[in-house]
Symmetry: C2
């Protein structure tokens, strides 16, 4: 049986030109930081941008962007608040910021609920911060928003890249478009990940050096935009 809410989702997202899912094989590679900074950068370039935190395992864009006491408005659905020029929604508005373990079924349910009630404006870009790896959210999202393109984040670590390979292999199998791979937290000039990316027939988007100033900018969007990290992510914006 089809969930009746899934039919409304098409209606909700019809004014969104491009949806980009920021994804990774494993956590801790800087996915949420890149998603947040990419959204800020695109908004600063004059695009209409939405940011949707779907990382059910550890939502963190609200911490990165310092979003407190801002809540969506209910009006024939939910209207995302505007934060730093971005239309912002997060799973934390659903689960709260407390311990809220969701079972796989509940995660699917929460995703469908959020997609069907959120009334995005006209957007040039909707940036999605995905959970790491391939789980219910990724599978549901591919089904519910089939036009989504994936931008994959890795680090130079072999462990991270091994998990990326798995993710890429799944996305290819499902014929999901992949924009390319960004290498975050580079400690040196190694071209290994670039080579490995090209072996997968994917575009190597950029290498982003490790930037210790990012930690100090946590919660402060303006400070974040001034980091070297943000300058690199800005260039990523032109690839999307």
């Amino acid at each position: 049986m089809t969930d009746p809410r899934t039919s409304i989702i098409g209606e909700r997202i019809k004014n969104i030109k491009k949806t980009i899912a920021i994804s990774s094989g494993k956590g801790g590679v800087g996915k949420s930081l890149i998603a947040s900074t990419l959204a800020l950068s695109l908004a600063r370039k004059g695009f209409k941008v939405g940011l949707f935190d779907l990382d059910f395992t550890s939502p963190s864009t609200h911490i990165i962007l310092g979003i407190e006491d801002v809540h969506p408005k209910e009006e024939k659905g939910i209207i995302p608040p505007e934060v730093h020029g971005i239309e912002y929604m997060s799973i934390v508005y659903y689960s709260g910021d407390l311990a809220a373990p969701l079972r796989g079924f509940d995660v699917s349910n929460a995703l469908i609920e959020l997609l069907s009630i959120t009334r995005w404006g006209k957007l040039d870009y909707l940036i999605l911060d995905m959970p790491p790896g391939i789980g219910d959210v990724t599978l549901d999202l591919i089904r519910l928003m089939p036009n989504t393109q994936f931008l994959i984040v890795t680090t130079p670590s072999q462990l991270a890249f091994e998990t990326v390979k798995k993710l890429v292999s799944l996305l290819k199998e499902m014929k999901i478009p992949v924009i390319g791979i960004a290498e975050n937290m580079k400690m040196d000039e190694s071209r290994e990940i670039r080579r490995e990316t090209e072996k997968l027939n994917l575009k190597f988007l950029t290498g982003i050096p490790y930037d210790s100033r990012v930690e100090q900018a946590m919660g402060d969007a303006q400070k974040l935009l001034k980091t070297t990290f943000a300058k690199k992510v800005e260039r990523l914006a032109s690839e999307t």
Copy 2:
């Protein structure tokens, strides 16, 4: 209805003295590295040790320990192979190393299946490498192996520690014993995480400095044991 396999699980784990789940609020904090190194260290001290990779989102202990072409033996269940003196099992033996997206329900099912078929020997320690955050596996594990103690890994990053707070709050609510918190990838002498840990009334176990040699030791257990990282994890072993 109770799954008939759950009753056999108690039988399967009755010869295990202590089960320690290495857990974290988010991925990429070094959980799998600590789980693998802790298992190696305890085995080297003469304990009987099992290592069970339950990180469905991105299993990686087999990559860390360089385990290839070693497979469990079927004999009235599954007997874990001995690798570097450790009884080793991993979800990859269930899902294979290819793209294998599992739905929440399938994850629960796979966990129950693995716990009910695996025939561990007499063990002093069973070390579990958990998926990041609080999901189906954590909830099921708490139900199926209620004597499990949690050892939580964080990094100095605020983002990582925020997610740890959520995990701790859930574990406390469910009255699950927490051994303490280990801070990995320390870049400086900051005592912030120690202070925050004590605020949660938890034991701060150790601070582990960032060690670039660990990446070079990937896949080589002997080399891994010689790193400064391993020396620190060895001390962690005495806290368990």
